[in-house]
Amino acid sequence: MSWKKIFAVVRREYTERIRTKAFWIATLIIPFLFIGLFIVQIAVARRSGGERKLAVVDRTGRLYAPLAAELTRPQAERPPQGQSDPGNPEAGGPRRQTVHWVVEQRPVIGDLEKTKEILRKEVLAKKINAYLILDPTMLAKDQVEYYSTAVSEWITQNQLERAINHVRLREKIAAHGLPPEVGNELDRRIDLRAFKVTDAGTAEEKGAGIIAALVFFFLMYSTFFMYGYQVMRGVIEEKSNRIVEIVIASVRPTELMLGKILGIGLVGLTQYLAWSFIAMNLSLPGIASLLAGSDMAPKIPISMLGYFILFFFFGYFLYASIYTAIAAPFNTDQEAQQLAMIPMAMIVSSVAVYPAVMNNPSGGLAVFLSLFPFTAPLMMFLRTALGRVPAWQILLSVSILAATTVALAWFAGRVYRVGILMYGKKPTIPEILRWVRYSPGKAVPAPAARQAS
């Protein structure tokens, strides 16, 4: 192995890719797409934080007034619900966006259907934003009908629902002859504070940690996917433009393969760095806190980073090896496509089952998937982030993964060495497997070993 030569290959792979427009577009566009998405969501939330004209058809005849009062009361005066804990999503974020309600009561004109029709037209004409039907029979079934062009504005609806519940609760309390303070008492909610038990003791889980773990999980997933595929395309490209024979006259095939995998992996890491830089400066704290309803930027534990690097390294190498072996025998992307479905399916399967693993991180399925080498990088990482995993399982998982990676890299090297010089007819799988058994010929002796000559 000549590290000088491997470095030359790494350098070429890295700089050539970093220089492409595609790389910068992906690097810059993806986070901005995400940020854009969140900005849109926030904007929607903000807009719902503006003035909302609500028409109420109150067929109970007694709920409108308290509801209007509740909705139009300044936020600060509202009874506290739960503790004002930043870690509690119920108490934190969403309610900070104040919706300014303008409420008006509407009589029933003609029958209810006709009234609804009139209101429907008003909503469409944007005279009002929404209307609400308070119907005694529906209320008996704990239902209230809400009509709006935007029925997915969860902040608005959440507030409205809360106000209605509040009003109803007061009414019930009054009906039972209890003092109104009881209402305040009942309005309080229990805050479930989650503590994660780890070897280091117990630490309060803020939700942001899990989000960070999921962000890493999906980063890893997309890297295996995108950059594994890039390795495949790189191998095929070198072969189809016939440069490979010139290169392997200077570099051994294993060195070329290794350099290529490392170089492309570094491109992936660079993209991570760029993303996290953008994220740290622009959005990640905002996104994470929005998602977790927390004001705190997610604290990423060192152990999580450590596991991420460990499983990323092996996982990327494992999949890059598979993609190399798949690419080497073929001359076009199309020819390799069929076999490329195999690693793709393996990677996607991890994502398909991750909710199950999240629900039960110590269950049989989770344990199996985190030991099975093709799902282990993603699954074991996720498990270590979710809770305590027995040390033997981590060790076993990493050992199986490392052994499989080494074996597959060896296998890929064999296929690669023969495949890159094979042109013409598309080889069959039995043919490819035969290449692996080809004698590698005499190994190139190290310079020191031939002193005698």
Partner: protein, 308 residues
């Protein structure tokens, strides 16, 4: 040490097909060595084995005195028949990369690259992408890429294929210039005329086997036995009737005549002068193709033809 490359009893099979069969030859240092033969004779496989790209099944290959290793690899320039380039790379970066995988630093490579880009009139394209170069320019670039690390030995597979006449002449000139610097050049071709003017040494291959090897001048002398070239006013039948003629054929307004062994050439000339007007008379050097065909016949591979 005056041997650049030596093959001893080298064989290679692909499945049942024997691509190279018990091949041995020696390339003296400082010569231009032609590996010649029709397509499919095993030239490319031989070159790839020499470059350690393909491993031989048996036999021994020594390059600069020992089996190919990394250090030796760095002293060799190789241009395969199928010449590729990274199309998206810039010319200078491409050359830097090819120097780097020969463990030559940018600083060292830079001066040489500039010198050659000047010689090949590619300097204005230094920072252009390979894609933007014409085919002829790409061929020049490939040639520079082969010598960017100042190799001691150049190995070129079908080096003239696809070259336009100008680039062909250019490459021939540079190959001669390299030899003048004491470097060794091995090239393969199936076009014997190209080899004829360039080669000092040749190895002829046909059907995976060597059929002839040696110094081209010596080979020509050996095969010149009895052959003379004579230009005279006479018809083919009259020429064939002259004393001592074993075979004759018309070539470019003259006759190439093989004399029966033991015939004195002066006596033959005198006999010709007696009967006809003779314009010129000389010993004839056989053309490489004749040597090749004779060798093929001798090896019992008569049906093998040079395919253009």
């Amino acid at each position: 040490m005056d041997t650049a490359i030596e093959l001893k009893n080298v064989s290679k099979s692909f499945g049942k097909f024997r691509a190279v069969d018990d091949l041995s030859f020696r390339v003296p240092r400082g010569t231009i060595f032609g590996l010649l033969g029709p397509n499919g004779a095993g030239k490319t496989t031989t070159i790839r084995m020499t470059m350690n790209i393909t491993a031989q099944d048996s036999g021994e290959i020594n390059v600069l005195g020992h089996p190919m290793d990394r250090v030796t690899q760095n002293r060799i320039g190789y241009l395969p028949e199928e010449r590729g380039l990274y199309r998206k790379m810039k010319v200078l970066d491409h050359l830097y990369f090819l120097a780097a995988i020969k463990e030559v630093s940018r600083e060292t490579a830079r001066a040489r690259i500039e010198e050659w880009l000047d010689k090949m009139e590619l300097r204005p394209w230094l920072n252009k992408k390979v894609d933007e170069l014409s085919k002829g320019m790409q061929q020049k670039l490939q040639f520079i890429a082969t010598i960017v690390h100042d190799p001691e030995v150049l190995i070129l597979d079908e080096v003239f294929s696809g070259l336009d006449p100008i680039n062909t002449a250019l490459v021939k000139d540079y190959l001669s210039a390299f030899r003048a610097k004491g470097k060794t050049i091995v090239f393969s071709t199936h076009v014997l005329e190209q080899a004829e003017k360039l080669c000092d040494e040749i190895c002829l291959m046909a059907k995976s086997k060597k059929i002839l090897e040696g110094n081209l001048k010596e080979l020509k002398r050996e095969h010149a036995e009895g052959q003379i070239r004579i230009s005279l006013r006479a018809g083919p039948a009259e020429v064939a009737a002259l004393p001592g003629v074993s075979a004759s054929r018309a070539v470019n307004g003259a006759y190439v005549i093989s004399l029966t062994p033991g015939t004195d050439r002066q006596r033959f000339l005198r006999a010709a002068l007696d009967k006809y007007e003779v314009n010129s008379f000389s010993d004839r050097e056989p053309e490489l193709e004749e040597i090749y065909l004779a060798a093929v016949q001798k090896a019992g591979l008569a049906e093998t033809r040079i395919i253009e």
